[in-house]
């Protein structure tokens, strides 16, 4: 333990603690900007600087470790002057179009300028005039708003291990950009949107599709169906001002009905369907000597990443479409048939935690119904915008149920939104299908939680099935490199592109720290425990769709509608 003095008060903390964290212990919130609790400190913005007795230089509280007897002052004239100067310098090149900005009222720079009482900028206002990037269906970059905090760079390179965003140029000409000033569409970006969550301002954001959805809702000829991804029920409440981790499944359904959606159905239903198809695919691969280990395919960011960086491993990826795309294919075939609606008039919206889902929906393979299977993808943040605009008081809403038949789901489907959830759901079904006996304890604790890589073993009638779970592409890379080296001795691997799984998706509410993601994940496990059915194969709607439409798992119709293929996108 180390004892130091901050602003005249003694505090004892563990060795290695930063001044920032030590100050927090005694109720002092040192202002920060480039700091992010999940990222290694870069200390580039210099907003959190403090005075340390005996040093001429001011030091960044976010990165500077405490030492015994250290005397720190966090609020002196020199400190305030340096902080304000740093913010003033940033503002002088910032567009300051806050009223029209997508991050209005949820912007760290805006909040900081307010907090530090910046009332004038003494330097010439000068914008850099950098071009915006609207090249992908998922992510919009507005580099003029960038304050060069490099949180996106750190996230892209070190958390996700993708590394398409870099600082380029020097001094005042420094910009954060894909290599050689390319657009995102021209580089190997997974479109995961983790950079959006990292950005303190509006320099990176999701492509906003709300207008297209408003138009569809206003069009009387359209039958507008929405599917709600598993993770959304644990995050839309948060987006609407509730505590992180508040489970709001019923209110979500009610809210969507009030916005005017004709049918509110559930991606959890196709999550259950995924388990049936994918579980059978796994058993078949094991039985018939297929390519193992098999890797999950629910996460479109992971798929795109795999197509760019691991084209040699594509045969390992399950051919199952993601639940979003299974839903899309079925809503314009099975549901259209059942409801007697011309699929041409169905407008299919999905509510997703994810920016890569926007890209996935536009993939040319995703038209098995004869139409684009999913017409529009909204993230939690976009839905939040629509609900606020519509004046829907979210916390006052009643609890309502999803519509039949594709709204009936199980707890297994719900936990898809947390890392390890797909694996756990699959194991519940695979165990019972393979052994024919009932699983005692449904909860596979080994695959839950926020450890980067998790492993488990399950005994299926004498065969020990080894599984692994990785979330965040940085962790996925570790497993994929093992696989390449022939050292991944597993049967089944779950990969989720985003840290924390879909509760931490790039379309989720901001801020999205690991602490918050943990709370969201726990909400999904709560949802699971509250469900009448907790195993995908027990879902009566699933039994029904096989009986009425699909016939059998991995059958011809399944192949036509529910399975897909992958394409190498390697640049080299």
């Amino acid at each position: 333990m180390v004892t130091l003095t901050i602003d005249g008060r003694k505090v004892q903390v563990e060795k290695g603690t930063t001044i920032l964290d030590a100050a927090k212990r005694i109720g002092i919130d040192i202002p920060t900007l480039c700091y992010h609790p999940d990222l290694e400190a870069r200390a580039v913005c210099r907003v959190c600087v403090v005075e340390i007795e005996g040093q001429k230089l001011l030091q960044p509280a976010c990165a500077y470790p405490v030492s015994e007897g250290m005397v720190v002052r966090t609020n002196t004239q020199a400190v305030r002057q340096a902080r304000r100067m740093a913010v003033e310098l940033l503002l002088a090149k910032h567009p300051q179009d806050c009223l029209q900005c997508i991050r209005n009222q949820n912007c760290e720079l805006q909040a900081l300028a307010e907090r530090l009482g910046i009332r004038e900028v003494r330097f010439e206002r000068r914008l850099r005039g950098l071009p915006e990037d609207h090249s992908t269906p998922s992510i919009v970059r507005e580099p003029d708003k960038c304050i060069l905090c490099r949180r996106c760079v750190e996230t892209c390179q070190n958390v996700q291990g993708v590394g398409v965003l870099f600082p380029a140029g020097r001094g005042a000409d420094t910009v954060v950009t894909p290599v050689f000033g390319n657009d995102l569409a021209d580089v190997s970006c997974a479109l995961c949107g983790q950079c959006i969550l990292a950005c303190p301002v509006g320099a990176i954001s999701e492509r906003d599709d709300t207008e297209r959805v408003w138009e569809a809702l206003a069009d009387p000829s359209k039958h507008v169906v929405v599917q709600t991804a598993p993770a959304i029920r644990a995050t839309i409440g948060e987006e609407m001002g509730m505590e992180p981790g508040t489970l709001v499944t019923g209110k979500l359904v009610a809210a969507l009905r009030r916005l005017g959606f004709d049918k509110v159905m559930d991606t959890d239903f196709t999550a259950d369907l995924t388990i049936i198809e994918e579980g059978n695919e796994l058993l078949e691969r094991i039985k018939e000597g297929g390519v193992l280990p098999m890797i999950t395919s629910c996460s479109p960011g992971w798929i795109k990443f795999g197509e760019h960086y691991y084209p040699d491993l594509l045969p390992h990826i399950s051919t199952c479409k993601s639940p979003q795309q299974m839903f899309g294919a079925l809503v314009k075939t099975y549901y259209a048939q059942k409801a007697g609606i011309d699929p041409a008039n169905i407008f299919s919206v999905s509510l997703m935690p994810c920016t890569a889902k926007k890209f996935e929906a536009e993939r040319p393979e995703m038209r098995s119904s004869g139409y684009q299977d999913v017409d529009a993808v909204l993230t939690s943040r976009e839905l939040g915008r629509m609900l606020r605009e519509a004046g829907i008081r979210f916390d006052d809403l009643p609890e309502e149920e999803h519509d039949d038949p594709m709204g009936i789901s199980t707890g297994a489907g719900a936990i898809f939104g947390a890392t390890g959830g797909v694996m756990e759901a699959a194991l519940r079904t695979v165990y019972e299908v393979a052994t024919g006996s009932e699983l005692g304890d449904l909860e596979f604790e080994q695959v839950r939680g926020l450890d980067g890589i998790k492993e488990a073993e399950v005994n299926l009638n004498g065969l020990t099935v080894r599984v692994a779970v990785a979330h965040g592409l940085g962790n996925a890379k570790k497993i994929l490199e093992m696989l390449r080296a022939g050292k991944a001795n597993y049967h089944f691997i779950e990969i989720m592109c985003c840290p924390g799984g879909c509760v931490g998706g790039g379309g989720q509410p901001i801020p999205s720290t690991m602490e918050i993601k943990g709370k969201r994940g726990r909400a999904l496990y709560l949802a699971d425990r509250n469900m009448p059915y907790r195993k995908s194969h027990e879902n009566p709607a699933i039994k029904q769709i096989y009986a009425e439409f699909l016939e059998k798992p991995l059958g011809e119709r399944s192949h036509q509608l529910l399975h897909t293929h992958y394409t190498s996108r390697s640049k080299y």
Partner: protein, 538 residues
């Protein structure tokens, strides 16, 4: 070994190379051959001799006659008259300005004056491409003594007692730096020689490398022995083509003689060195940016702590020493700390190598004891200001150093005295400016340099250098605002205190000293829209 009755040393420093010394050398060899003197007279290309603006310069030994500038067409005369007939060619003798005083003998006290050559002990005297000549001047004796008679701790102790402080500008005690790394527990440690000399007006490291590369190898190997490192890198500015060539040759020679490699002198200690070339970023002279660059990353500084001494290259304990610091090591080992403390001041023992540039009669490379006054350097060695103009200011320490006015001419030139005057000894560049220069214009040029060289990582430096340049540009073009002096002062102070690395911390120093000592010139530009010197177009 061959015996020659005469040696002709041809300066092969970059300024003389640019002046045509290679052709002079070839002409000398050809002419000596033609006269049948090849077995009596040897031509040696050396490192820098010092008076760079007189080049190409040559010295004829044993007389020590100093000729310069020498043209190819002068060569037959020198060979015929001096080398064959033994008559000095008066017309070609190098002449110092302003009195056109002849430098008859290169090493004569009248020429060197207050200079003392420790670092430059071999520069200009030996063929830098000959390890034998280095050994002939006690080269590698210090390494031998360390490996055969001293424990690593004793080497560190000796360097600590010498009081040597880093010559790259930060003046950190070298022995202490070594001790940190020696104490760090690790499977691998590194010695880095910082030869990324980027400070405008500084070329001392280049000329040391060109003139005496083995002294750097020896210094690094001693450092490696002291701290327990078996691997070193010399990070040399890519533009320093001759330095790189000569350093590589020196490394090859040392390897061949077993002075680098495994089990040096049978001691069991092994050490080897590789060269890494810089790609032109000024910031890579900052030690952590240099490390990033060697690792293959973007040249940007890291947060300190942790310091390189414990977490350096590839996370391993690493000593980063400047070229000049390392060149001091062998003589300190051989002559002892008390000898070293006999030069310079109590707080800053030893000498300092300076490069004299600007409005001064004798430009070039000098080495003087620490603590000599600015006045002595300018008037006794530099020969004063040319063209009958008045001294206006001297910038010490390169572009990131302070600008000192006439009233401070008697400030002692050592790290601490200059810091107290708001400037820095820095890398040893000394830029002299006469009264024809406009302060605002000079400040604008300096800030343009820093605006270009800031790496862009931290806010105060990235935006601050941009804004200081912008404001200087407005002031110098008559668009200054009344509040600009205060705004620049505040901004410069924040940059100094809050920037991430030495670049941003030092970039505002010239501006702050100029605002302090020449405030009236800024005020004239802003309030009266006039330039008192009439040079900046207002």
């Amino acid at each position: 070994m061959e015996f020659y009755r005469s040696h002709v040393l041809v300066c092969g420093g970059t300024p003389c190379v640019l002046g045509g010394c290679k052709a002079v050398r070839d002409a000398l060899i050809g002419e000596i051959h033609r006269q049948g003197l090849s077995r009596e007279i040897k031509v040696v290309e050396t490192g820098c001799l010092g008076p760079c603006d007189l080049g190409p310069v040559i010295v004829v030994y044993p007389e020590g006659t100093f000729y310069g500038p020498v043209k190819v067409e002068d060569v037959p005369l020198i060979v015929e008259e001096h080398l064959l007939k033994g008559r000095v060619v008066d017309r070609l003798i190098a002449r110092e300005r302003p009195a056109e005083k002849e430098i008859v003998k290169y090493e004569a006290p009248s020429y060197l004056g207050p200079q003392k050559r420790i670092v430059l002990r071999n520069c200009g005297l030996i063929d830098p491409e000959s390890v034998e000549e280095y050994i002939g001047r006690d080269g590698y004796a210090a390494l031998g003594r360390c490996l055969s008679q001293m424990k690593p701790g004793e080497v560190i102790d000796l360097v600590k007692r010498s009081g040597l402080v880093g010559r790259g500008g930060a003046a950190f005690p070298t022995g202490l730096k070594w001790e940190f790394t020696a104490k760090a527990d690790a499977d691998q440690k590194y010695i880095l020689c910082n030869a990324d000399e980027g400070e405008p007006g500084t070329f001392k490291d280049r000329l040391i490398l060109e003139g005496d590369p083995h002294s750097i190898i020896e210094g690094m190997a001693i450092a490696g022995y002291a701290v327990g490192a078996d691997k070193g890198f010399v990070y040399i500015r890519g533009e320093y083509v001759i330095s790189i060539e000569r350093m590589q040759k020196a490394i090859d020679q040392a390897r061949r003689l077993g002075l680098l490699g495994e089990n040096i002198f049978g001691s069991g200690f092994g050490f080897d060195i590789e060269i890494r070339k810089g790609a032109g970023a000024y910031v890579c002279g900052e030690e952590t940016a240099l490390i990033e660059s060697i690792e293959g990353g973007r040249g940007e500084p890291r947060i300190k702590p942790p310091y390189p001494g414990t977490h350096g290259l590839w996370g391993k304990p690493t000593v980063v020493n400047n070229v000049e610091t390392l060149a001091n090591i062998p003589p300190i080992i051989l002559n002892g700390p008390e000898w070293f403390r006999g030069f310079g001041t109590e707080r800053c023992p030893g000498t300092k190598v300076f490069t004299l540039t600007g409005d001064i009669n004798n430009k070039g490379l000098i080495e003087v004891p620490m603590g000599i006054t600015l006045r002595q350097v300018i008037y006794e060695i530099g020969g004063g200001i040319p063209g009958g103009r008045e001294f206006k200011m001297a910038q010490t320490g390169g572009t990131s150093g302070g600008c000192l006015p006439r009233e401070l001419l008697d400030v002692p030139m050592d790290y601490f005295s200059l810091a107290e005057a708001g400037s820095a000894l820095g890398s040893g560049a000394l830029l002299i400016m006469d009264d024809s220069h406009c302060i605002v214009d000079i400040a604008r040029c300096f800030m343009k340099f820093f605006r270009h060289e800031s790496c862009g990582k931290c806010t105060p430096c990235r935006e601050g250098t941009d804004r200081l340049y912008e404001i200087m540009d407005m002031v110098s073009s008559g668009r200054g605002r009344a509040q600009d002096i205060d705004l620049m002062t505040e901004l410069a102070q924040v940059m100094q205190r809050a920037s991430l690395c030495g670049l941003g911390q030092a970039a505002p120093v010239p501006v702050l000293t100029m605002l302090k000592y020449f405030r009236d010139e800024f005020e004239a530009h802003i309030a009266d829209r006039t330039c008192p010197t009439g040079t900046c177009g207002l």
